[in-house]
Symmetry: C2
């Protein structure tokens, strides 16, 4: 018999489809991608091609050689750009619209064309996280910015066309309903209990243990009870902190190690799957609230969203998080 | 400059990304799929293989030959099945879960392995719609069923592995939050105006005209103002009716023609794209409400949802519905 589970952070239901269930190793990619070269002359993110990108906003460079390790710049084809008005306007006497005002940046994670985060050193991943935070904190002070989404698309089915390792940041002038609703759930829980829902969730997962993949001094990695998709993975800080921008340097150093190991396990265990990750964090002005906890959410793209999900918002997950967590927990990587 | 538009039925924002915008013909599939055979001996949905499926629940047959034109049966690997309890239970002292109780059926649309709806006669499409409605109305009387989703997945990127034309029906024991929220929006509009939001939307689209693709006596086809994805297409009845189960035979006859022409235009214009469609209709008990209007929503799978959409719930659409609607409106098919 299938099981229906409620995601405590969204109150959405997820069907754990026992009849269609697959074993964790059924999700291993069968055909490996051809490995790209370490340098690709036509790639705008490769060293020497810096003039092909918009002007550099941030870079971390080696003291001696002055060559960059991480670089950020505006997206050449931005979804949103810092021009126009944030005034809502009535469109055609019926709809609501506004200018596409916002910020869209690219963070190139390494000069090496074929070095994904999973195969870097901890220090390389830490560079990327510090760059995220530096751009986050610079933009969170801009008055018209209401939400900052930092995310990564790895592989074609995760929505990227450029193979050079990079992340993106989009800052929006609106707080979408999708985020407001998660907040409503968190606030209601806080009002009822006096505690942070996500912190309680982490404490519970640690006590139960069976969905936990990894634990360090500062972070817990687990596959959620109501995972929307196979191998969905959350990395959550143990100490309360609503906003990624306020994570300490020690937090980011620890996270770099945890994120690298987590991505390396997916890379080795599932044979370099396409995936997205996103940092869920408090919107502007809510950085110090007691009721939210920032976290990083990894969504391997192993199944397709189909008509039922589009119509109902209910996901059908063909793998149990208890089983996928065990599979990943038992993988040995360094 | 990009533009941000609000979907009036969900209050979600959609970014119309001018800088990344594509022309409608950029979405034409370049490589055509190899055409499948008209009969595939190993296909469980082909005639002669009826014993490979669970027992038949419904079939429409030719009077003379008694061969079936449309067949329905339980899904062999159901996401939900009619056994177990609808009681919610606390899981692990923290979460909420319940049995996977519900119904999951398959409707085979034609005996011909390689005949999609787009290439049928109107009468063949009508058979399929009457089968949808017959199953809908049979299941809507079952007390534990709260929502019935009828949908179709066409092509691998739309989530199907079986190429024989078929649709599915999933009946759930819960009304998901995703649906409740659309209802909240519709109810608020109704309370403020005394009118149905979707009916007003249809009236507005007809007056403005530029996103309308087709109009018949009973239906309007348009690309929504805040389309989430390129070529998103809605087919909406002109007369008020909350529930698909209550559509008249004349409605379904007209819809069969409208749906066939709409799918044929996508088939010819975009070279047989993968797509999903879903019938959005009122949940159980709300069949006669004034504030909702059932409709059929087609989502061609031309772009991938990426990290930004996963994190924010805001879609980035790279095509303007005014342009895609013009492209489709001007296609001539019969």
């Amino acid at each position: 018999m299938s099981e229906i589970r409620q995601d405590p952070t969204t109150k959405e239901w997820v069907i754990m489809a026992r009849e269609r269930a697959k074993r964790p190793h059924d999700f291993v990619r069968q055909q490996a991608e051809a490995e790209p070269p370490a340098f690709e002359p036509s790639c705008p993110f490769c060293p020497g091609n810096e003039a092909m990108t918009p002007p550099e906003i941030l870079s971390y460079r080696d003291h001696e050689t002055q060559s960059w390790r991480v670089r950020a710049f505006a997206n050449k084809f931005p979804a949103l750009a810092p021009e126009g008005s944030t005034m809502r306007r009535e469109e055609e006497g019926f709809f609501l619209g506004m200018d596409g005002v916002g910020v869209h940046e690219v963070i190139v994670e390494t000069p090496v064309h074929n070095k994904p985060l999973a195969l870097m050193e901890d220090s390389g991943v830490a560079d990327v996280l510090f760059a995220y935070q530096e751009r986050y904190n610079a933009l969170s002070r801009v008055p018209f910015i209401k939400l900052i989404i930092i995310f990564k698309n790895h592989g074609p089915s995760a929505g990227t066309s450029l193979e050079h390792p990079h992340s993106q940041l989009v800052a929006t002038p609106v707080v979408p309903r999708h985020i407001r609703m998660q907040y409503e759930v968190a606030i209601r829980y806080y009002d009822n209990t006096g505690r942070c829902l996500h912190s309680d969730l982490v404490g519970h997962e640690l006590r139960i243990g069976k969905r936990v993949v990894m634990e360090t001094e500062r972070f817990v990695v687990f596959h959620p009870f109501a995972s929307h998709q196979p191998f969905e993975t959350w990395i959550v800080p143990k100490a309360h902190q609503a906003c990624f921008g306020n994570a300490s340097a020690e937090d980011l150093e620890d996270l770099a190690h945890v994120l690298r190991i987590t991505l390396l396990k997916l890379y080795r265990g599932l044979n370099n799957p396409d995936f997205n990750y996103v940092i869920d964090t408090a919107p502007a002005g809510d950085e110090n609230k007691d009721y939210y906890l920032w976290h990083l959410r990894i969504i391997p793209r192993l199944t397709e969203m189909a008509g039922f999900e589009i119509g109902s918002g209910i996901y059908i997950n063909t793998a149990l998080p208890e089983e996928t967590a065990k599979f990943v927990r038992e993988l040995k990587v360094e």
